[in-house]
Homo-oligomer: 330 residues x 2
Amino acid sequence: MIMTAERQRPTAVTLPKTATVTVGLDVGGTKTEALLVDEDRQPLAQTQCPTDTTSPEGVMDSIVTAVNTALEEVGIAPAQIGAIGIGVPGLVRPQDGAVQLAANLNLQEYALGEAVTAVFPAPVILENDVRLAAIGAYQHLRVQQPIQHMAYLSIGTGIAAGVVLDGRLWRGAYGMAGEIGHIVVEPDGAICACGQRGCLETIASGPAIAGMAARLMRPNPVINLTADNVYQAAQAGDSVAQTIVQHVSYYLSHAIQWLIMSYDVEKVVLGGGVAQSGSAFLDPILSELSRMRAESRLAETMLGADKIMLLPYGFNAGVWGAITLAQKGD
Amino acid sequence: MIMTAERQRPTAVTLPKTATVTVGLDVGGTKTEALLVDEDRQPLAQTQCPTDTTSPEGVMDSIVTAVNTALEEVGIAPAQIGAIGIGVPGLVRPQDGAVQLAANLNLQEYALGEAVTAVFPAPVILENDVRLAAIGAYQHLRVQQPIQHMAYLSIGTGIAAGVVLDGRLWRGAYGMAGEIGHIVVEPDGAICACGQRGCLETIASGPAIAGMAARLMRPNPVINLTADNVYQAAQAGDSVAQTIVQHVSYYLSHAIQWLIMSYDVEKVVLGGGVAQSGSAFLDPILSELSRMRAESRLAETMLGADKIMLLPYGFNAGVWGAITLAQKGD
């Protein structure tokens, strides 16, 4: 169990025994993170623990451990939980709290909401993790400026977008809105896990970047190359890494263009594991967008650099989105 | 002045002198069409006249002629007009009724709404023509099935989409939502009017199809080849035309995929000048989508043939959308 030491965590908490708290959970394939806030959204405790994905019970144990650790941290009873929001990486049915498919959690048609309510007697609301991060990012931005329409583009193991229109999450007719990782961008490209050829994910996801590096950077091999290795090497001047980053940034810039041309949002926020490389990740995208603006008046109007931003490093938009959804209930 | 003889037009009308009517207008680069309906949306008269695009006054004259002809047709006084909805091909500001830019109408920063209200004393609401057609198509579909989310993809001189989400038109933050004609699909493709290279419009718009045919079908030249000539030739077995149609259909199918993956709409309705080629236009797209479904489970789930439909031939979705917008006022 690793306790985070984020600035939001107060040093001492004295919460009345009658006060209710909200729990936000981000259940990832590697770790489960829990955030506890009071009625004014003030953080009380934030914990994380490894996710046991060997079975549904294992996932449940991870959730219970993360929540209980947070509760104990500040001496709050489970009965004081007013609502729980949970984000999972996969396809969910918010209406009945079921996970339809979450490959990285090894869950399929699992009534996660029901299982959590059985342990912590509070209403549970379930949502896809990228969508929750979109809500979290939106709330975060709203503090600074009165935006209403935003897309959150997550680039990690997979690629997907969460979209907020008129201040509300847009899920689509079948809960599939924003699945742009599977838009075909290279007709003759590599075969994707989804069966298609040349999906955006086959080029710009973390594993795709690492795979490209493993093939092209062989003369100077590094064990277990990650996308971050590639970004850092490119920033340090490695020309092969730079070629890879340029290739990836080209496609990500065009994905940003699609999001803006389709939805006409005010901001596109970039997040996910790959985006954690910070400026090494963002700068080449901004360069490509700048090139696009220089060659087209339409692009100049629509692809302004001020529309693009990176999720602040270390800010877990997912748990904050889970809190918001749990408190608002929609 | 050509009077249409559509089935909706009743043979005799006796409307009380106190009844109010709604006018829907579709002001195109070639012709201006007006539709007059009563309070129950029953069509009273439908007229069209050539659009005079030599000056803003010329455009106004065309509008006035189309409306007056319709009014006279059924003996209705201008004072009985309750509201007027107008669609124009370009960028508009619905809030103040101004046309920001409509290249094909030769209008720029023109207070069209104000000018029309000065002639016909009724509230005027202005919108982009593709968006109005999206509303018209949505209303048309709703009669048959209870859908809520729909994209209308217009393929004509330009390419753009109008999107209805939760039963309402989605305009975007800056009125640019659905401008997917300028998504780059061929990085090394032809230069588009917008300045970018390889926009969807450079491949699949009417002029692009005709241009490709003029280059490739030279051995068997036809004067003033149109996109429809190409579609008909392909259907008749011309192998060069078939190659062009296949190329265009590939990109249009992927545009449909983007719309579905981004918005997760229940239906994508195809319309616009190029789509008027009917089955010669639609069948190759359905074949391509079928091929995409066969190779991917995700595509199989999301790109069902029942999601795609053609706007009925001769149905002017634009004027009907104008009527709806004028009556609802949003």
